[in-house]
């Protein structure tokens, strides 16, 4: 297939010629009004969640205030709807934002950039570009063949799974905006730093030969023209897809969190995950790297750990290593990377996460 032919091919995904796009009506005044009313209702319900959970636990179910079971039940009844509501709203918003970004566009932005600027941009674009971890390898090939520097490509590949809307919502909902902001900031820093280091090491020859010999293939798809109605549909689609996928993890995570909240004694975690335990950060990272869970499952658990005296740096390091590095991803990356580059990738990212952990444990 010739490149020019591809570029001229009509785009069938959601452009005006498809039945899909015809369904989406122009954004009318009434619909906008309904949207605003829905948002207002969301806020009203959200504000009532805590009194509702307290009423259900201690009023309706008649549990004793201050009891273990009461604490656990109240925690679960308050946190589950709160997190699900936050998740729905944010996933919808991010779905709309993401309709403005595609991997193709991100690649075009990064292709002409020098290293330092490229690393920062790549890490930031990693947050808003739609990315599925099973796409990591094709995306890697697409970026590298288009002339995106190796280190810049890695900054993107680290940031995309680690700093995501689900993780940020859960951190905000359960631990407050400060922890969410710290996670966002340090997650970006780890992605920028690790990518930059990999770039400095000049490891291009540790990319599999067939990838290096591959010529840049053109933009497969011309850009889509989306109306606001289409973008709103994208947002709704994201809610259906992500919320349907993560809700069991969220509920299971909150249930574990609720158990720890009610039954594990205060300060229990301080002895093994506290600030004064110097080895807790490396052990957390060592346990976290081969583990794989999404943010939805891990945040409620770390919430409970923190409450029982675990140090914030240790817990954040654990969370980052679970989300950013995983065994299945490394196995699949082996198709395009030689073992030494994989080892460097894991080593540099783990080192960055360790630094973050120690930094927080010392500073906070």
């Amino acid at each position: 297939m010739e490149r020019s032919e591809l570029a001229n091919a009509p785009c069938p995904c959601g452009n005006d010629n498809t039945p899909n796009a015809v369904v989406a009506q122009p954004w009318s005044f009434l619909q906008a009004l309904l949207g605003i009313a829905g948002l207002a209702a969301w806020f009203v319900v959200y504000r009532q969640l805590e009194p509702m959970a307290t009423y259900l636990t201690y009023g309706l179910f008649g549990l004793t205030a201050g009891s273990r079971l009461g604490g656990a039940v109240q925690f679960f009844l308050y946190d589950s709807p709160k997190v699900m509501m936050l998740l729905t709203l944010v996933v919808f918003g991010v779905g709309i934002i993401r309709s403005f970004f595609t991997p193709e566009k991100t690649r075009a932005i990064l292709a002409g950039k020098s290293e330092a600027v490229g690393n920062v941009l790549a890490a930031c674009l990693g947050i808003v570009t739609p990315f599925c971890s099973c796409s990591a390898v094709p995306l890697f090939i697409g970026f590298v063949t288009a002339g995106v520097p190796l280190g810049v490509t890695f900054s993107f590949l680290i940031s995309a799974p680690m700093v995501n809307e689900v993780a940020l919502v859960l951190l905000y909902g359960l631990l407050g905006w400060r922890v969410a902001a710290l996670y966002l900031g340090t997650g970006l820093l780890v992605a920028i730093f690790a990518g930059w280091v990999i770039g400095r090491l000049g490891m291009e020859r540790h990319v599999e030969l067939w990838v290096r010999q591959m010529l840049a293939s053109g933009a497969g798809m011309p850009e889509e023209r989306l109306s606001w109605a289409d973008r709103i549909e994208r947002g709704k689609g994201a809610v259906r897809e992500i919320v349907a996928k993560v809700w069991p993890y969220v509920i299971a995570g909150i249930a574990i969190g609720a158990f720890i909240h009610g039954y594990v004694p205060e300060g229990f975690m301080a002895r093994i995950m506290g600030k004064s335990v110097w080895w807790s950060v490396p052990v957390a990272v060592l346990i976290g790297v081969p583990m794989y869970s999404n943010a939805a499952g891990i945040v409620p658990v770390i919430h409970a750990l923190l409450e029982k005296g675990a140090a914030l740096g240790t817990v954040l390091a654990f969370m980052m290593s679970v989300i950013a590095l995983s065994l299945p991803e490394l196995v699949i990356l082996r198709k395009v990377l030689m073992p030494r580059l994989i080892a460097v990738f894991v080593g540099v990212v783990a080192a960055g996460i360790l630094l973050v952990g120690y930094l927080f444990n010392t500073m906070l």
């Binding site: 297939m1 490149r3 032919e5 591809l6 091919a9 069938p12 995904c13 959601g14 010629n17 498809t18 039945p19 899909n20 595609t102 991997p103 193709e104 690649r107 739609p130 599925c132 971890s133 099973c134 796409s135 390898v137 094709p138 995306l139 090939i141 697409g142 970026f143 063949t145 067939w210 990838v211 591959m214 293939s217 053109g218 933009a219 497969g220 798809m221 699949i332 198709k335 395009v336």
Partner: protein
């Protein structure tokens, strides 16, 4: 008509393949459906977000599972 569904085998790619096979069966169009999982083969088509659908060498969709209506439109 030759349809290639590209993707390493994640849930979304399997979903896309199933949907296309169902659409082919429903419309009765004479088409072969092939699942491409080899990264080298995928990259040769210039595709770098999966799942992707290629019909007779023409890229129809990248980075998402198409809707059934879209697939039916491509088949006609």
């Amino acid at each position: 008509m030759h349809i290639k569904v590209m993707g390493p085998g994640c849930p979304k790619c399997t979903e896309a393949e199933k949907l296309i096979k169902a659409a082919v069966a429903e419309t009765g169009v004479a088409a072969t459906v092939e699942k491409v999982t080899d990264f080298q083969e995928i990259a040769k088509h210039g595709v770098f977000s999966t799942p992707a659908v290629v019909i007779d060498g023409q890229i129809k969709c990248v980075g998402k599972v198409p809707t059934k209506a879209e697939v039916v439109a491509w088949l006609h």
